[in-house]
């Protein structure tokens, strides 16, 4: 099949189906609602289920229920909706169930606005819900990459028995780009008989499976947290993804940027190069695990005098950049967070101001 033109939100919905996920529960919220609308047409065509919950709180627990039963399941929402789901996300992580969450971020805090933002970086990478858990977080910078990340998210969620989050912004959800759905990324759901409550008859077993996040015995709770910790350490060893850009040059400034913001920064890097100014860039594709070593090495380059975290938030990722740079060079932040996306010209001016 050739390429077709799709809106990010439609492509994310189709990618869920192409990944072999036939269970989708959601609640509409701008700028993500087209996923639900698209899947309300498509799921019945492929024998899948689309169910609109009464709220995002309900949706979070519908996801937990389906995941606990061993079903492949996903949902999509936008910032305030993900806040409402965060309790369930913590329970799902604590109970070690695989599920995929997509957040098409809008400006916050509170109701904020409906335009693009990256202000849920902390929520996605550092918590959101309570307790010692992490999400594997992937951040697409194009509609095609969103497709590939969604399709990859399901086997990763099953590999770690942990929720995976796709963190896009409103523009990724709303913009249109040509896409294709790589057949090789389709994966069969893994065997979940060891732990899922999929029925003793189904798995022909006399052993009861119990899915829970409640551990009243402090020793057992500590053990559960150690299991989770080991999974997150393994993610750091095996799942880091990033894209270096113009890092072979002798740049004085290193930009770290992801998602839509990185597309703008790339144009700025290209335009500055045409003016004879080299700027290096690291684009994290996974935000957790963060490309710590790549950022450290790029900032340690002899020519590099400064790292610049550019994000559509008031300085969230910059904390990870500072942590990873280990004082090798000063770290600055630039960003906007009202829904306006900074232009390439603005980024070029910021870079020039530090030269």
């Amino acid at each position: 099949m050739g390429k077709i033109l799709m809106k990010g939100n439609e492509a994310i919905g189709e990618a869920g189906i192409r990944a072999g996920c036939l269970n989708y529960f959601a609640y509409p919220i701008t700028p993500q609602s087209e996923v639900a609308e698209y899947l309300s047409h498509r799921m019945p065509e492929v024998g899948g289920v689309f169910l609109q919950g009464e709220s995002e709180v309900a949706v979070g627990y519908m996801i937990f229920g389906a995941a606990a039963c061993g079903a492949r399941v996903f949902t999509t929402s936008s910032s305030p909706g993900v806040s409402l789901m965060s309790e369930a996300i913590s329970y799902i992580a604590g109970a070690q169930c695989p599920a995929v969450f997509v957040n098409i971020m809008r400006g916050g805090p509170g109701l904020g606005g409906i335009l693009p933002s990256q202000a849920d970086y902390f929520q996605a990478t550092k918590g959101g819900g309570h307790g010692d858990y992490r999400l594997l977080v992937m951040a697409p910078a194009s509609v095609q990459e969103a497709v590939e990340m969604v399709m990859t998210a399901f086997p990763l969620a099953e590999k770690y028995r942990n929720p995976v989050m796709i963190l896009g912004d409103g523009l990724i959800g709303q913009m249109m780009e040509p896409v294709e759905f790589p057949e090789h990324l389709k994966s069969e759901p893994s065997n979940k008989d060891d732990w899922a409550t999929n029925g003793m008859d189904t798995r022909k077993s006399k052993k009861r499976n119990l899915v829970k996040s409640l551990f009243l015995d402090p020793v057992k709770l500590n053990e559960n947290n150690l299991i989770l910790k080991e999974k997150y350490e393994r993610m750091k060893r095996e799942e880091i993804r990033f894209e270096p850009y113009n890092t072979d040059s002798d740049y004085k400034i290193l930009i770290v940027s992801y998602g839509t913001m990185s597309r703008v920064c790339k144009t700025a890097v290209d335009n500055l190069k045409a003016e004879g100014i080299d700027v290096g860039m690291i684009r994290p594709q996974t935000l957790f695990p963060f490309p710590e070593d790549a950022v450290f090495r790029a900032a340690s380059k002899k020519s590099c005098r400064m790292a610049l975290s550019i994000e559509m938030s008031m300085g969230q990722m910059v904390e990870d950049v500072e942590r990873c740079v280990h004082g090798r060079c000063p770290v600055k932040w630039y960003g906007k967070c009202g829904g306006e996306v900074p232009t390439p010209e603005e980024i070029m001016d910021v870079v020039r101001s530090y030269l």
């Binding site: 077709i4 249109m176 144009t267």
Partner: protein, 230 residues
């Protein structure tokens, strides 16, 4: 072959079929041909990439643009300004109504039934065969039926808008033209015009088409790209 559209033109189609890009470019094309043009942004369902984003370019050309009040420009609220009904009652020589996608977007037209009563208007369906749900004749006709039912108005013509944005090639344009020609023949709806990206207009054999061609200067671009001059 020039586009000669006049009167009240209502542009409908599925989400992302290119209605707004066509409305803006059609308005500029006809204005530059010397006629008086107004555009009304009736997209009440899509929060991004609406005609309102090209308001500056359109106003600079002297094209009237009817939008919701400034303070609601970025709201996802179904605001239909009374100025639209006013425009329909006193239309420009070409008045373009840029409607939202699918049947949901077209529902707004039913609210304008009183204003449109007794007026002559032409409702045209934009088709991009490289979009989901309108890649078959059946899909296009289903979309047509749903939009007609929601708007309670008939679609009387087709606009071919085959494209993959930046990845559009001459071959895709030819393939898309053949597709919409077939839709036109099978449905009996005339093919009003097709679009061609301005960057491809030199390499495309225009003689291959038996309908007018609108050269598209892309206006609705992501923030890392520049809109083309109209």
């Amino acid at each position: 072959m020039n586009i000669l559209l006049e009167g009240i033109i209502i542009i409908v189609g599925n989400y992302g079929s290119g209605k707004t890009e066509i409305s803006i470019n059609l308005a500029a094309n006809r204005k530059l041909a010397g006629i008086d043009v107004s555009v009304a942004d009736l997209d009440l369902v899509n929060p991004y990439f609406r005609a309102r984003e090209a308001r500056k370019q359109l106003s600079e050309l002297g094209i009237g643009v009817i939008l919701p009040p400034d303070k609601y420009l970025h709201a996802d609220l179904p605001i239909l300004t009374p100025a639209v009904a006013g425009l329909i009652r006193k239309p420009s020589r070409l008045t373009i109504l840029d409607v939202g996608g699918d049947k949901v977007g077209a529902t707004v037209l039913a609210a304008l039934a009183d204003a449109l009563d007794g007026k002559t208007y032409r409702m045209l369906q934009v088709i991009n065969p490289f979009r989901p749900f309108t890649d078959t004749l059946k899909g296009c006709m289903k979309m047509k039926g749903e939009i007609e039912k929601a708007s309670r108005m008939p679609i009387i013509g087709i606009i071919g808008n085959a494209n993959l944005i930046d990845e559009t090639t001459a071959d895709l344009i030819y393939e898309g033209y053949d597709f919409v020609s077939t839709v036109s023949q099978e449905s009996g709806l005339p093919l009003e015009f097709i679009t061609v990206p301005s960057r491809l207009s030199d390499e495309i054999d225009m003689k291959r088409f038996s309908c007018p061609v609108l050269k598209l200067h892309r206006q609705l671009v992501p923030p890392w790209k520049k809109a083309a001059g109209l």
